[in-house]
């Protein structure tokens, strides 16, 4: 456990990716395979389902720290992180014999799930006593299911590739999909025989970067395949050895969630992998994403919801055909093969080609981009015709060129402290727009400001608090921000009657006074404007 906690601390203390990779390499070189497997598991973002009720945990921690629960809560608000709050509050541990990570996970962590609360309490208090300092913090992170560390999957892959002498691709491939940690797993992960074909496994998704320069900088337009940028669930549909697997980008196996897509997949030849987007789809265009959320929210899919919100896979790319990995072939070739494949499927079915957007030159495409919202798209995707299907987010070959967001000028009315890196700073804001002479809460936003701006707003909040409700401060309505968002629709669940998608602060309008902010009427007008197009 000491080594793993030291690894966590090393990853936490540096912002340099090389140092992070070096720390992981050093850990994997010396850790026993059983520990290494669990470390990979946690570093890959796996978190146990909630083992202990948060209320119980807080109560036991307060008891162990000999403080009243209200003081525990005050402390928690200042720290913004439950695991850390507990670690900071507990008296110094007694210490005990050092045990490996796998022991802590298998003998202490996983069994918590099947214990009665009273037994959980005994087990936890014992663990807290036996661990000390930063081990206890890491342990709390594990039991609260909040273990996150500043190492992206890509860096974990890089470290494992360095340790094993394998390529990044092999490691990334082996890490996808479902696996159980154990010494056997770690040995397979780093095994030099790379024929291990687990039929279920998707390829790592290749991602696009946001286009930051004018598209003319990309050169000759004819070198680029242009598609709509859809806003659904990115997925890979796999047909291998007579079985179908549907994976989301978040690496969730979606089998059973989209039966209409799976049914059609049975028509695909074995050894086929299609990359695409799952969208609620009717009459050649997507339904609002809220419809998809309605459908995702259902535990059981009845005939009615399937009829009301039919879902289709809009196919972007063909990654495997006849069992052959096509990812290094040029996009143009993959597209031709994809077109032929989709054409061979029954018509009117639930797999469609992602249409290619025509346009002779960049100005024509700029016009098409402006019309993206009319189609229910977020903008355009620009993919180089020669591009391979890479790993992760490599720059240069694929770009997303989104339409400019919708925006509203709104007034800061409530603020709440953030968590993690932003703990103790007022960073989570609620904004209002005018409804007559009253400000009505309209959207929350947490991102978009620079650290310096956050500090200034934080100072403002502290000096202009009108009222407090728990951690929430009601502030003097004075600061105006331009909020940008991607979509807007009516909502009966919001006080304002309006819900927005992906709101963020585009700009601090220091040039505007609260009275200059937008009205609810203007905001509602946006819904009509968007839907009229």
């Amino acid at each position: 456990m000491k080594d793993f906690a030291a690894l966590y601390t090393a990853l936490d203390e540096t912002t340099a990716t090389n140092q992070k990779v070096a720390a992981m390499v050093a850990y994997f070189r010396s850790a026993p395979p059983a520990d290494a497997a669990w470390a990979v598991h946690f570093l890959s973002g796996w978190r146990p389902r909630r083992l202990i009720r948060a209320g119980d945990l807080r109560r036991w921690a307060a008891l162990a720290a000999a403080i009243p629960e209200w003081l525990f809560e005050e402390s928690y608000h200042a720290v913004g992180d439950l695991a850390e709050t507990i670690a900071l509050l507990l008296p110094e541990g007694a210490g005990a014999e050092e045990r490996p990570l796998a022991w802590w996970v298998e003998e202490r962590l996983l069994p918590l799930r099947d214990l009665e609360p009273a037994e959980q309490e005994v087990s936890l208090i014992a663990s807290w006593r036996e661990l000390s300092g930063r081990e206890r913090y890491v342990w709390n992170k594990l039991i609260t299911g909040a273990f996150r560390v500043g190492a992206s999957q890509r860096l974990v892959v890089r470290a494992l590739a360095e340790v094993s002498g394998l390529s990044d691709e092999v490691i990334a491939h082996r890490l996808m999909g479902a696996w159980e940690p154990g010494p056997g797993f770690y040995e397979r992960l780093t095994a030099h025989d790379t024929r291990d074909a687990d039929w279920s496994r998707p390829y790592p998704f290749f991602l696009a970067h946001a286009l930051e320069q004018p598209p003319s900088a990309l050169g000759d337009r004819t070198c680029w395949q242009v598609e709509w940028k859809w806003d659904g669930i990115r997925a890979q549909l796999i047909r291998r050895a007579g079985q179908t697997f549907l994976w989301s980008r978040g690496e969730d196996l979606l089998n059973g969630r989209f039966p209409e897509v799976e049914e059609l997949a049975a028509f695909l030849p074995s050894g086929t992998v299609i990359d695409g987007e799952l969208l609620p789809w009717r009459d050649g265009r997507p339904l609002p994403f809220a419809q998809m959320q309605r459908r995702i929210g259902r535990k059981k899919l009845d005939r009615r919801i399937l009829a009301e919100v039919p879902v289709a896979l809009i196919a972007y790319d063909l990654l495997e055909e006849g069992g052959e990995d096509l990812r290094t072939r040029p996009l143009g070739e993959r597209r031709r093969r994809l077109e032929a494949l989709v054409a061979s499927l029954p018509t009117g079915a639930s797999i469609h080609l992602s249409p290619v957007v025509e346009g002779d030159d960049w100005p024509a495409l700029a016009d098409a981009r402006l019309a993206a919202r009319d189609r229910g798209a977020e903008g355009l995707m620009l993919k180089h015709a020669e591009s391979a299907y890479g790993v992760g987010r490599r720059r240069g070959d694929w770009w997303k060129w989104k339409v400019d967001p919708l925006s509203v000028d709104a007034v800061l009315i409530y603020a709440q402290p953030g968590s993690g890196r932003r703990a103790g700073l007022y960073t989570d804001y609620t904004f209002g727009v005018w409804d007559g002479d009253r400000l009505v809460a309209f959207a929350k936003a947490y991102s978009g400001l620079t650290d310096e701006e956050i500090r200034q707003v934080d100072a403002f909040v502290r000096r202009n608090t009108l009222d407090k409700f728990g951690p929430v401060r009601v502030v003097k309505p004075e600061l105006v921000f331009e909020l940008a968002f991607e979509g807007i629709q009516h909502s009966s669940r919001h006080k304002s009657g309006v819900a927005v998608r992906f709101p963020r602060m585009a700009r601090w309008r220091t040039d505007k006074a609260a009275a200059d902010a937008d009205t609810l009427e203007t905001v509602r007008g946006l819904i009509d404007a968007v839907n009229a197009r």
Binding site: D12, E13, T14, T15, A65, I67, P68, W70, L71, E74, S75, A78, V79, G80, D81, E84, T85, L88, L89, G418, S419, G420, R421, R422, A423, G424, L425, D451, R455, D458, A459
Partner: protein, 340 residues
Amino acid sequence: MPDSGMTLLRLTDRGLYCEAGDFYVDPWAPVDRAVVTHAHGDHATWGCRRYLASAAGRGVLALRLGPDAVIETLDWGEPVSLGGVRVSLHPAGHILGSAQVRLEMGGEVWVVSGDYKTDPDPTCAPFEPIRCDTFITESTFGLPIYRWPAETEVFAEINAWWRANAAEGRTSLLFGYALGKAQRLLAGLDPSIGPILTHGAVERMTTAYREAGIPLPATTHAAALPRKADREGALVLAPPSAEGSAWTRRFAPFSAAFASGWMRVRGARRRRALDRGFTLSDHVDWPALLAAIDATGAGRVWVTHGFTAAVTRWLGERGLEARALATRFEGERDDDVEVE
């Protein structure tokens, strides 16, 4: 809650006012007569007609208030009578010359703590517990999450970090408040590792400390070095306001760290995007705060700047007459602002 006993101080829009003696303690707006606990900007305001402060802190206070300020001083424990109120100053252990103000009239004793710590600090006189009826205390770190590691442990960490940087050819950039923290850091650094350079603000205050007779290792004002001078292996002491400024670029490649009580919490460390955070504070932590309050024997405690709500409630639950006081003191701020 109705106040019991006599009221020697009350809160006005200019600060804590003693009507009987017609003076203020740490006012935040110009007044006729200010008794000042210490030289930090949120306690020593400009433009008062007369100041009364500790003799030990005279030098640094004069540096902050300018040459025209009229500063009268008292030795530790030396009493003076102001309008029938017996006033004396006692070490607060916060920075050089930092004082607690003791007021006595008609057998009633009040103490204003200013900022204070009870941990050892070779650059100032140690905190002196004083019995009183009413104690006005700061609460900058008034939550049980704030518990300071032993000073020796922290300095061992800082010196190890400096040594490792020096070995790898990096300069060590250490941020801490120019007045107080920087000199305490200096006193704990191991000068055998390499040269110690200073930012102008730190150098000015360090000179004032030396003039007051505090022994500190030799420093070189960074501005006095040629721009291209070799700084390898050096440690640079600078105020937090210099963090991320163009001034720091000349020290590249460097590792940057901040020394502050706030560094106890990971979020505060991480959002500064520094390489290291060292938990070193010139304020009391939670156990020391409670112990200090207890040692005064005070039945009434007024709680100023910090986690006032938590401290007030904790004391109230223990039967003390406690209330929060909305002052403009700021304690150890968790940002770049430093009043020069």
